[in-house]
Symmetry: C2
Subunit: 340 residues, 2 copies
């Protein structure tokens, strides 16, 4: 697989982005990686020991984390993320990774890479890892959705999670809502509930409340980009805060410090399970190719994990997603997405 | 203060509700408590030792946790929550507490107790206790909001939190959103941002992302009832899950068990800070009187804490809220809510 990496995107670019890419390239000798960015800077960051399957592509600067995405892309069509997106469109690579401005990556993908047929809007699919991993979408690509968008997200999430989580059967899809009954929620959730129950394209398990996010009740949780973004960030923020509280509780007198030392290795496991860096990036589903968004504060390990995920998911991803969307529209009672 | 308690509402009614009320009555001899419910059952639950400031009021059965609120209230106007709400309307009590069906409590309050002037819709205000306590509203009373509703919630939350958290200055109010910039979010959040920035009635600190829920960046977080409910339940669910993961990590071999025993008393503090039972109920703001909603699974301690909160907040709450709403409308540049 050939992957374009926006080497200038993210808080720790280009150093950590380049380092993570070199690590991934060493572990994946069959894949090819193109680092996109101001050539002098990214070659300097890469140093002398560059694996054969890594190349460089010159571009302008990055879109800043705080810039308004559409305006920035219009003003600077040679920005690193725009150049990387055009490589996917031109068929030079099958995938694009950026840890930069999320809105800019989404906009560049829509502009240059293009949407799948019959997918009006894309969704950011993110793994919420604790306690039981679940794929949440949309985590923020489409802030205001129609009910049919949510159904499309459900189909995209089903196909993706079946492969990503290596599920035996069809993915269980839940709709995030304020109660379990079909009558609960907004006009949007009520209509989406009805459509999801009617389509044969997903295995719909009904409404899922906030308290069951990550309880293992579903493999995929669908919601609009506003709610999904708030849920994801709340969950990450609370998890971090609770671990911080646990850590503080463990310091104190000599006895508790000694006890904490015994337990530390075990608690590291919990911290790792909660740490977003251990999960690759978020896949932008609904566009052609594999477009993956890293955390803005990604370090080399996070970049490497995201690139491993892209390689593992493979170049056939967007074709599989397009087929599932097409067959769900051709026959609403079609076999469940991703079913054999 | 006189408080009507729906003795039949909640998973552990009437036993835990009655027990919590008796405890609160002993600690608050100057207040009066009326237990509302099927007389035989609630008198039996109270036993022989009933403080002088506790009385009983006969009613029909409870509205079940799974019943459709409006239909249930229409069908059974003598249900315990309906009778308790009518006591507030009649001026027999200044407050109502119920740990029963939340929708039924909201509906009974709107139907019998009535709304404050110039408050189209009410909001459930809940303290999200970790790591830094913040008042979140709406947690689920008004699922679909207009921008002006959110501004009203901001004013209600400002006045309430200034008293509840004993703040020195005006409460800092944040709007839950997917980014900090005013241009972020849905049409609703964009319009609400503008209105909140224009009104002189609150101290608006801008948009707050999910990751900053509970970071101490604001005293009050405002959002629609759909988002608020999902955020609250997600935060509670994740906090519980992370503590469960920490607990599991601590069992294992003899060494880690011994170390865990040393640390347990310290971790109990973290658990208590996260436990919703340690925080009273949620105040339904925007209606007359004090209407407070307990967790469905409230035990005696949670009921007692809620009743202590009601007493501490006092009978003047809804007048103070009404005044703040009125002055914000009379003069949009009015002094900040709750400012001296």
């Amino acid at each position: 697989m050939r992957i374009a990496v926006d080497a200038l995107g993210g808080d720790n670019a280009p150093g950590e982005i380049v380092a993570g890419t070199l690590s991934a390239a060493r572990r994946l000798p069959q894949d090819e990686f193109v680092l996109v960015g101001e050539r002098g800077r990214i070659e300097a960051a890469a140093g002398a020991e560059v694996p054969d399957n890594v190349s460089f592509r010159d571009s302008g600067g990055a879109v800043g984390m705080e810039e308004e995405p559409a305006a920035a892309l219009r003003a600077r069509p040679d920005s690193s993320v725009a150049v990387a997106a055009r490589m996917v469109r031109a068929g030079e690579t099958e995938a694009l990774f950026s840890a930069g401005n999320t809105g800019a990556t989404v906009a560049a993908a829509l502009l240059s890479v293009g949407r799948l047929k019959s997918c009006r809007r894309p969704a950011i699919a993110t793994v919420l890892p604790f306690p039981s991993p679940v794929l949440l979408l949309d985590a923020g690509a489409t802030i205001s959705c129609r009910a049919q968008d949510l159904v499309n997200f459900a189909i995209l999430g089903s196909v993706f999670s079946k492969s990503y989580f290596r599920l035996d059967g069809p993915a269980r899809v839940g709709l995030i809502n304020v109660g379990e009954e079909p009558s609960k929620g907004t006009d949007l959730t009520k209509e989406a509930y009805k459509l999801m129950q009617e389509t044969g394209a997903i295995r719909f398990v009904g409404n899922v409340e906030g308290r069951d996010v990550g309880s293992g009740i579903a493999d995929v949780l669908v919601t609009d980009g506003f709610t999904g973004n708030v849920v994801l960030k709340t969950a990450e923020g609370v998890a971090k805060a609770i671990l911080q509280m646990v850590r503080s509780a463990m310091t104190g007198n000599v006895m508790s410090k000694a006890a904490a030392a015994v337990l530390r290795p075990r608690l590291v496991g919990v911290r790792d399970q909660v740490d977003p860096e251990n999960y690759g990036g978020s896949f932008l589903l609904g566009v052609r190719g594999s477009v993956v968004i890293g955390h803005g504060n990604s370090e080399a390990r996070g970049v490497e994990n995201a690139l491993l995920d892209i390689s593992r998911t493979g170049a056939g991803l967007s074709d599989a997603l397009e087929d599932a969307l097409a067959s769900s529209q051709a026959d609403p009672q079609a076999a469940q997405a991703g079913a054999p």
